[in-house]
Symmetry: C2
Subunit: 450 residues, 2 copies
Amino acid sequence: MIHVSLQRLVLKNEVNYIISQITGLINTPVFIQDAEGMALFGEIDQYQPFRYPVEIDNKTIGWVGGGEQAAVLASLLSCLAKQELEKKSIGREALEKYKEITLLYDLAEKLTASLDTAEVAQLVIDEAKTLIAADNNSVMLVNEETGMLEVIASSGKELHPGEGLKNGTGIAGSVVLTGRAEIVNDIPSDKRYVPGAVRVSSLMCAPLKIKDRVIGVIYISSEDPVQYTAEDLKLLSAIAFQAAADIENARLYDSLKETFLTTVYTLAETIEKRDPYTGGHTKRVMNYSIAIGKVLGLSDTEIGRLELAAMLHDIGKIGIKDRILLKKGKLTPFEFAEIKMHPIYAEEILNHIKHLRDIVPAVKHHHERYDGCGYPEKLRGDGIDIKARIIAVADAFDAMTTDRPYRKAMSLQIALEELWANSGTQFDPEVVRAFFEAFEKDELLVKKGW
Amino acid sequence: MIHVSLQRLVLKNEVNYIISQITGLINTPVFIQDAEGMALFGEIDQYQPFRYPVEIDNKTIGWVGGGEQAAVLASLLSCLAKQELEKKSIGREALEKYKEITLLYDLAEKLTASLDTAEVAQLVIDEAKTLIAADNNSVMLVNEETGMLEVIASSGKELHPGEGLKNGTGIAGSVVLTGRAEIVNDIPSDKRYVPGAVRVSSLMCAPLKIKDRVIGVIYISSEDPVQYTAEDLKLLSAIAFQAAADIENARLYDSLKETFLTTVYTLAETIEKRDPYTGGHTKRVMNYSIAIGKVLGLSDTEIGRLELAAMLHDIGKIGIKDRILLKKGKLTPFEFAEIKMHPIYAEEILNHIKHLRDIVPAVKHHHERYDGCGYPEKLRGDGIDIKARIIAVADAFDAMTTDRPYRKAMSLQIALEELWANSGTQFDPEVVRAFFEAFEKDELLVKKGW
Ligand SMILES: [Fe+2]
Ligand SMILES: [Fe+2]
């Protein structure tokens, strides 16, 4: 509610001046008092015959007392008070709109930071938290395959990423169905409520909509009873409105990225499968490489490239004939020279793909040696791309620990000793050290069967 | 500018009532007139000794004439006029904010429709056109590789998609460098202006910004001289603000999609290259298939799937040994049975990729025959996925028109006759008809060397 104070009005310079001038025209003393009877102008005189109310929206906010002529002052003050009220209410409306714009701009700016669904959802939650008091916040999205409403990001104890609600159940599920935001301030009495790990008393839930399609909800709840207002819900709905498109875009991007990585991986693995003895090699080299890269503190971008490079490291073998690639006996020098071409073939293939050019060094040089005796370019030391040095260790370790046509797998212990023995000659000692650190931390996902 | 009319003020019921009451208190006649001298209250009496101005922001909007006591009315009217002005200006501010919010919501809703850069840019232009009068509109984006500012979408005759400005040149280039929106209402006198195909007189240009990075501009221009206002520029900047993120997201999505398609294509082609006689086969089958699909009126989604399926149609050949795949002589029945496994191998590979499962039927059945005598499942007629029926025609036509180890390529005419002869038996007659239509329209990109 907006209030107009008669005291403040009367004290305004210009108003006070006009009151003085008018009282000068009136032949009897005049006084003004507020609704509580406090004098605001002149001296209160119980014996004056007339009292006129100063009214605003039929509510009396004060009185003008005096002779009959005092009526003009009451009319004037009522008129000025009404103007004041109108000004204030327009002002409040402008302020609200202003706040809403600021919120929209703010959110738009923050949410563009990312095309990662979980990250965008987390930003939405962070924003909701700064604007509305709540113990639990979450963004839940409809998984179109399973129909489940899944928690993508959360804060508080009630819900956690990975948890989900069955299609249409709970208050959140009901909001998905109706597409309408809801406040429930007395949760225990709501029949739709599905009790969870934490007892909550009040909640608000707003749908995330793309056109008329509901893709999920923003959900916030309070453990202590609070009265969420229509104003709070409007704020949450504005957040939901602005966030829905960003979340959907992130989800589409994530999905395309997954398709891309799965396709490349599947094709790489298919190419690898020409040689049945290396089954699962690609997957393991990827895992080892990423674990080592993380110990070495590579950036997320570099880890992403490392993953792709490890996936594609032997892609060049597609260019080598079965007769050589699958030969069971010892290779002739000529045949071995042909095998050594596979990093060059890989380079030729990857150079066709603009956005994969930055992984070429990692793939091309995975058979270089730290001491400069490798192939195809006899690079040495730090001259070899760090990702290639990592893949070299991962590749060698996997080759030693799996069966090959011409020999059985080494024991894990012997393979580890072998890495150690070749550290500083074949392998970068820093990378070998990181490999052992990852191994100790159980991050290599190898069976320690010894 | 906001105006307050003294006439309207004096005519307000409540104000008129107060004026009457006050004039009743004054012992000489009183009149009110506006700045032009028109009587608004009472009768104008030239012989009254005093005239008091009714002022607002030091501007006289009228006069109160009468005896000395008339001064109180002038003060009162000035005070009421000031209130009125304040109310109006707050109201205008509220209205502007309201318009801005509506614009932001509107745009947000429209732009989420798409993750295609050109489409999003076109939506931005359509929106700008409805809000600001202009002859030419365009969205230009910085190509980070070339540094060029490229036209992505446009309306009007000045600029066209594909055209571009060199880094930093022109007024648009200058907006990219400074990151500040500009109005130029007298273009010929601006030294930065680079004259183009159409003579323009006035323009506005607003940067598309992601955080502090300028990714491009929205540019509008008018051929006849107009005075674009700060208000217009604010509107254009609001559009630019809301659109920047959507455009950037679309661009990232497009770029990932291109990487995905190029990678899959390159790997498919690499796999194809094991057989040096089929060089370029994948590319040609894709082109023929898409051209046929378009004639048949397939949806964009189906064309997208057809493209991928054509790209991957022989991916299963990776599972076939060189000895059989590359054999120069006649294949034994056993060897031919092995070759016939390639669609099954393809199915096994693609089933690993969730988002590619919808192209499995198109790939798996590209060797089925319309009469049910094909492989691997002897499907017939409409029981065969339409995309597989299309690829079958494209694949056969390319096989006939390129050299193979065991025979030279047929002439184009004989190949066409062959397709025709097998229409309704091997091939779907509708697809063959569409193939000929595309061929006639020159959409198959084949050399008509006869
Ligand atoms: Fe290798
Ligand atoms: Fe085939």
